[in-house]
């Protein structure tokens, strides 16, 4: 079994209106040291081992459904685990 953590964020070139609003809010709270906030999604997938390579599967899943490549980037972490 694998535990896969997927992070999806808007691409750098795409303005993030939510992130902008949160940055302004942090500035209003006097956290002037925060210069930028990007808001994204975090997903946890439990994946069974198969004959297919795990990276191949996850990249496919991310580009087909979990992220929209037109406006979003993704990255992921794979953790192998054993359930007792």
């Amino acid at each position: 079994m694998y535990k896969v953590k997927v992070f999806v964020t808007l691409r750098e070139s795409v303005l993030d209106p939510q992130g902008k609003a949160v940055t302004q809010s942090l500035h209003a709270l006097n956290y002037k040291e925060v210069t930028d906030v990007r808001i994204g999604k975090y997903m946890e997938l439990t994946v069974e081992k198969s004959e297919r390579n795990i990276d191949e599967v996850i990249n496919e899943i991310c580009t087909r459904l979990l992220a929209n490549p037109v406006i979003e980037d993704y990255r992921y972490e794979v953790e192998e685990c054993v359930f007792l």
């Binding site: 795409v14 209106p17 939510q18 999604k41 459904l65 929209n68 037109v70 406006i71």
Partner: protein, 227 residues
């Protein structure tokens, strides 16, 4: 002409769309559930607004993999008119039938009000009955209508006259004031404003009616002898 209004779980403008076609235009129209396996009997496909699958993950992202969407792609390839309004537009983008993507409105607010649109081109099967450059009043109702595409795609949209409607006062931050675009072939239209909510003066505007009339007229000219 026979229309299909595709109904997804969470569609909520399907009845308005049905009313526009059935009652205002007097054309044949049926509701079609999202797991339908064939759209062969329909001449025009309408994807209504709403919140298909609760807008989970991204607007339109789940609906795009419904069984019926394979048939919508087929209909688009066959040259049939396909119209996606609001969530319908978002689904067409996710399905790759139209280029680009939607972002959250710049203001982060859900915007629900009439807006003035400019007809950028009347050389489409959806706008043939309008005047070039005409101003029309159509309501918008969306939280994610902030259209985005990369520069290369934008250049293509412009070069092929694919930008059909623009906002006169941009409500959502949409790139180049874009409110609606067609595919390169010109038979798939996606738009955020709701023409089906503007088909009678009683509703505040009847400016949307010509869009549906244009579809029917263009179809008749191509398919009916002595139309």
């Amino acid at each position: 002409m026979k229309f299909a209004v595709i109904v997804f779980p969470g569609s909520n403008c399907d009845v308005d769309m049905f009313h526009a076609i059935g009652d205002e235009l007097g054309e044949e129209v049926e509701y079609v559930w999202h797991d339908t396996e064939s759209l062969a009997e329909y001449d025009g496909i309408l994807l209504p607004g709403g919140f298909s699958y609760g807008d989970y993950l991204r607007t339109g992202a789940i609906a795009r993999f419904s069984k019926v969407m394979k048939e919508v792609v087929k209909a688009a390839e066959a040259g049939k008119p396909v119209l996606g309004v609001c969530n319908g537009f978002q689904i067409l983008l996710e399905a790759g039938l139209l280029p680009g993507a939607m972002r959250r409105n710049e203001s982060l607010s859900f915007i629900c009000k009439p807006v003035q649109l400019k007809i950028e081109t009347n050389r489409t099967m959806f706008t043939a009955d309008y005047e070039q450059g005409q101003s029309i009043s159509i309501p918008v109702a969306h939280g994610e209508g902030n259209y985005y595409c990369d520069e290369e795609t934008l250049a293509e949209l412009k070069a092929n006259n694919q930008i059909v409607f623009t906002y006169q006062q941009n409500p959502n931050g949409s790139l180049e004031d874009i409110a609606g675009i067609v595919n390169e072939k010109g038979n798939v239209l996606g738009m955020m404003p709701h023409p089906e909510r503007a088909v009678d003066e009683l509703l505040g505007s009847a400016d949307g009616l010509k869009l549906f009339q244009s579809i029917v007229k263009t179809w008749r000219e191509a398919h009916v002898v002595n139309a």
